[in-house]
Amino acid sequence: MNPHRRSPLVLAATVLVYFFLYAPIAILILYSFNASRANVKFEGFIPAFSDRVVMEGSMVQSSPCGPFHWYCDLSRNNDVIEAAGNTLTIAFTATIIATTIGTMAAIAMQRYDFKIKPFSQLSLYIPIVIPEIVMGIGILTLFSQLFGWANTTFGLTGDARLSLGMATVTISHIAFMVPFVTLVVQARLQGFDKSYEEAAMDLGANEWTTFRRVTFPMILPGVLSGALLAFTLSLDDFVITFFTNGPGSTTLPIYVYGLLRRIITPQVNALSTVWILIVFVAVLLLQWLQSREEKPSH
């Protein structure tokens, strides 16, 4: 029997997997061009360009942007722009902080032996396996207890009152990112030969210069892929953000959820499409970094 002969079952499974993975995305993108405002059925593309939006019932007849009407509509939606800004601000801030902490943790765990090391290693997996909703509730409880105590104790009122917002979302994102970054950097450090560092010190570099000039550049691909993973996780986190956000800290996932509860216009689809594109580029970048990392270093 030819070992390379494909069984029809395998083929069918492959097709089904791809279908259920990508058909929803394809439909989502298609609907972002929907002429129907109701967005229940695909009623065809918006047919024409015109100076202004021409509606007939729930159907868009023509628009200055033509088929890209909902994208233009989206770009004028200040709430979306604010949410996107919040999302990126949180993702960038949290990524930078979490990557720094995670990298330091990975190096410490690689280099030093300490009593609680087995516990530290285990504790990295807990936030990853714990249901996100449990963590979300936990963080919310923590913050409300803490803020309640602080506000009463220090008599904080008005604007000075501690409440949920950008800071709490960022902090909780950092909390769930750190384990991911640490594990990714740890994997990179696994094959790191300490004689590189010894060579640098032997040649006259002190500990800090050794880290800056030798260790860090050599583990950089690992650090970057950890950071990128953390960044994408932050971009589309819903559950934890849902519990920890407050006024003025609405992120895109939270915003979309809010829209869905009211009315689903193709604007949501346009937003999702843009978002998918951004994440797609990030994932490609991640893949590229990881493939670079796999090349032999000797």
Binding site: Y196, E198, A199, M201, D202, L203, G204, N206, M218
Partner: protein
């Protein structure tokens, strides 16, 4: 120079705790003095403490006890970057993200040398190891031999007082290794700096070294010149580890200041005038060490001083030599004969069960303490 010795280890002990929680001494009361400008080797099998000793000189490890001195100064906990020694690593440890030029320039940058000076010195270093023109290559684009040269250039460009080499030729194939041995030796003589060389390859150590410390189980077994180590090993371990030896047991019957007469049951004879290691006493049970190449198979009957009868067990042709395994009263002896003439004629070989005569010159043996 501040001191007669480039490096000195005084009663150095290095203890490690094994994962099972046992404490072991990787280096156990080692004392050695390495002279300025010397090519010094530490020779031993893995786990003998040679690499740990080297690492303590480099500053990657600190002694548990005792002290390492460089140029007469006690090193204590001086970090590697404050010691005037440089290391060539077994794995080379070339910085993969830097070019050949950047690798060699790294140490000079750390000294704060100016760009012009760095350029000049890197150029000279590359010339010295014959790698001019390779400046822009990345380490992974070089062959093993070339990487090795970069590692040497990177260390030597710092003009250290002492160059430490940790099995630097271990990853190279035999032919290249032999070439590099001679090259390193020539380089050392040309520069006149002290080389401390760690190896498990006895031939390498004998080829290159001015003096060798033979190490085992964390201790120095013998520290002497290659000739002394080979011709006058101080104990059975060294005699066995360096080169090959036949060992015959016997009892001292008479002795003078430097020679002994030993009765050897295997030969059923008392052999007179054999050199001996110090501190042996009359009547002591000893071993007589005989190098295989120093035994000779001779024509004629086994009658006369130093002539003994033996039976051929096996004869192995290895190109340059023939190894003949003999049986003498149930004791196995090995004789190495150089193939000075062509052996194409099958009758020139010894055959199994052939009775032959061997000649043992007392001055070519050595009487050692039985361990």
């Amino acid at each position: 120079m501040a001191s007669e010795f480039a490096v000195e280890m005084r009663d150095v002990v290095k203890r490690f705790v094994t994962p099972e929680g046992n404490e072991i001494a990787a280096v156990d009361h080692v004392t050695m003095q390495i002279k300025n400008g010397e090519f010094f080797s530490m020779l031993g099998s893995s786990g003998c403490g040679k690499t740990t000793s080297l690492r303590m000189i480099a500053g990657f490890e600190w002694p548990s006890d005792g002290e390492v001195y460089i140029e007469g100064k006690p090193m204590g906990h001086t970090p590697p970057y404050q010691r005037k020694v440089n290391t060539v690593f077994q794995s080379y440890a070339l910085f993969q993200h830097m070019s050949v030029y950047q690798n060699i320039a790294f140490g000079l940058e750390m000294e704060g040398a100016g760009a012009d000076e760095i350029k000049k010195r890197v150029g000279r270093a590359l010339e010295m190891v014959q790698l001019t023109g390779m400046e822009r290559r990345k380490p992974r684009q070089l062959s093993g031999g070339q990487q090795q040269r970069v590692a040497v250039a990177r260390a030597l460009v710092k003009t250290p007082d002492v160059l430490l080499l940790d099995e630097p030729l271990g990853a190279l194939d035999l032919k290249l290794r032999k070439e590099m041995q001679l090259e390193l030796k020539a380089l050392q003589q040309q520069l006149g700096i002290t080389f401390i060389y760690v190896t498990h390859d006895q031939e390498e150590a004998l080829t290159m070294s001015d003096r060798i410390a033979v190490m085992s189980k964390g201790r120095v077994q013998q520290l002497a010149t290659p000739v002394e180590i080979y011709e006058r090993p101080v104990n059975k371990f060294v005699a066995d580890f360096i080169g090959e030896s036949n060992f015959l047991e016997g009892t001292i019957k008479a002795l003078s200041a430097k020679e002994a007469s030993v009765f050897i049951p295997a030969l059923n004879a008392e052999v007179k005038g054999m050199p001996m290691s110090p501190s042996l006493v009359n009547g002591e049970e000893v071993v007589v060490s005989i190098r295989p190449e120093k035994l000779r198979i001779v024509d004629g009957p086994a009658k006369g001083e130093g002539l003994f009868k033996a039976r051929v067990v096996n004869s192995v042709y290895i190109g340059s030599d023939t190894h003949v395994y003999l049986d003498v009263h149930g004791i196995r002896l090995k004789v190495m004969e150089q193939n000075r003439i062509s052996r194409l004629d099958p009758s020139s070989f010894y055959v199994k069960e052939q009775e032959i005569t061997i000649y043992l010159m007392p001055e070519n043996t050595l009487v050692l303490k039985k361990e």
